[in-house]
Symmetry: C2
Subunit: 340 residues, 2 copies
């Protein structure tokens, strides 16, 4: 089969890879219907994370089950499925508490690589969620978004305890931040302030439910949020970037007793204990347990209540993955869908 490999920073190649096979009795092999490039794929692409290349790439996927191991019970050959970026048994104590991304048997799907024609999915019963009916290509973008960016934005909003009556700030206008706006809207937030200085992303944020846009960043951004919230700060702030500036911006934009939900992978972030202490905020985040939300998100998508697929603003065939990485790296695209 064909698949994407990263050889070194900036060096993405599409090449022949060995076809996946069932290796554990709980595995499934799926034929990928669509996959995509994640903001987090840019960390190794940019050399910020070390590349042990050549490494398979991709952890977002939708597709059709082609084969199952003898212990798979809930998933059948022919099912159209969505999974997320950690395989999880969905039965251990951590999974049952809703933290499937930290399952005691978790396997990172990034190590398998779903920017490919096929993929082996471990722990298929716990990991994969079937989509009712037979979704067509028109539904692929929305379902594929559920695999990571929607689920991650949704988790961030839940971690930030978004609820009716609350004012929500979203730091970060990438796909996750934009879908956190959508999640905040669905969860009933009164007011949703998106922090963005890009006209196209501001427009999408407004379509997803943002009521206000703040272009300022850092201290000026925090001052603006305070001004918009009677001097107190937001009830709930979503951090979807993962830098020192964005984390501190999120914490400072939140009122005492408020909640910060953070899902930006926190590279080179150091939180000062005294600043955190006197912020009096709640802080929760980490790798999103997307699996917790998948059934609900698939349901919202199938019913047509939400269209998170709008974050894909560039579609390319798998063979042109390298151009997709370049477009995202140069911020010419918010998110790139790869057709298989």
């Amino acid at each position: 089969m064909r698949g994407v490999m990263l050889y070194a920073p900036g060096d993405v190649r599409v090449e022949d890879r060995t076809d996946p096979v069932i290796t554990e009795p709980t595995d499934a092999v799926i034929r990928i219907a669509a996959t995509c490039i994640c903001g987090s794929d840019l960390w190794p692409y940019r050399g910020v994370e070390q590349v042990e290349g050549p490494a398979p790439m991709g952890h977002e996927y939708i597709g059709v089950v082609e084969e199952i191991g003898p212990d798979v019970r809930n998933i059948a050959v022919g099912d159209f499925v969505v999974g997320s970026f950690f395989a999880s048994d969905n039965t251990c104590e951590i999974c049952r508490a809703g933290y499937q991304s930290r399952c005691v048997h978790s396997v990172p799907i990034g190590s398998i690589g779903t920017q490919a024609e096929r993929a082996r999915i471990p722990l298929a019963d716990g990991t994969l969620v079937p989509v009712p009916g037979a979704p067509g290509p028109a539904q692929y973008p929305a379902l594929l978004a559920a695999s990571d960016v929607l689920g991650t934005g949704w988790f961030a909003a839940v971690a930030a305890e978004v609820a009716p009556g609350k004012t929500v700030v979203v730091v970060g206008d990438g796909a996750v931040g934009l879908l956190a706006v959508l999640a905040a809207k669905q969860l009933g937030a009164d007011r949703i302030i998106a922090m963005s200085r890009h006209a196209d992303r501001q427009a999408l944020a407004r379509r997803f439910g943002a009521t206000d846009i703040v272009e300022e960043r850092g201290k000026a951004g925090v001052a603006k949020i305070k001004e918009l919230t009677g001097g107190l700060g937001a009830h709930s702030t979503i951090e979807a970037v993962g830098t020192q500036e964005s984390m501190m911006q999120a914490i400072r934009a939140t009122r005492p007793g408020g909640h910060v939900g953070y899902v930006g992978v926190a590279h080179d972030v150091q939180l000062d204990g005294m600043q955190l202490f006197f912020s009096s905020v709640h802080l929760h985040g980490g790798p999103a347990p997307v699996r917790r939300f998948l059934p609900e998100l698939i349901d919202l998508i199938v019913r047509g209540d939400i269209d998170p697929g709008e974050v894909f603003d560039l579609t390319l065939p798998l063979e042109q993955a390298a151009e997709g990485y370049r477009a995202m790296d140069e911020r010419r695209a918010i998110k790139v869908l790869l057709t298989v």
Copy 2:
């Protein structure tokens, strides 16, 4: 009146201070019945926090109202009252959300100094809570504990979401840590693991409800907690020290999705973003909004359901405050009550 002043690190003096008077219409002046020395008083005493001496000391107090300003409505002359270490209006949006220590009009009582015969308490209506009946000296230790260490330990337990069915770890065996054990017991925790290597404090922790004692610290301490919790870590961890080691010990002892409540004033703590991210814990803490809990805590004390006064293991007259500071600094005493 007589009162405690800190002139420089290690230099505590009891001297004549000007008697307090009503300066704002919302003030009360109280005659202090008992006060005490806080672990946080040791930071300037040890020179870890800068001393702008001579500075008045003390922020814990119980006493009788002697005078009230013309706008005070809910507190009357003669009331026996408990207050905490931040004056708060108890009416602003932040107070109503339960974060009175971050009231938009908050005044730190430490800047007034309650290790004295009398004290002016700002925002008396919001700050002071009357004790029913006429408590006698036998009840002073318990009521005085409510003023800070009990309220702070209680907040830590609430911030750590302690509840029935949960396993709780308490890092720190000072007065706050010990009373966090008591709080965890009251809040219904199944199992309470106190981390302590001092026999006397272990004994008190057990009296307050600890089911297990762990003497190891740092990595060995975390390994022991994992061993006691099926490899997963605690549901709820209370951090009541405020050092880098204690914060990381608390975070690492907690399972993904679990809750860390931290109330140790975080001096020189830097939290690594990646470690926090992949811990997947909830983190909440800061200066405890003791006022939120005071009515409930006073009620529990007056009914005789709890006796937090046991944390006081040395009682001295106010005139011997310097010896009290030495005893706490040298860890000869857990907590020192000063009679007035």
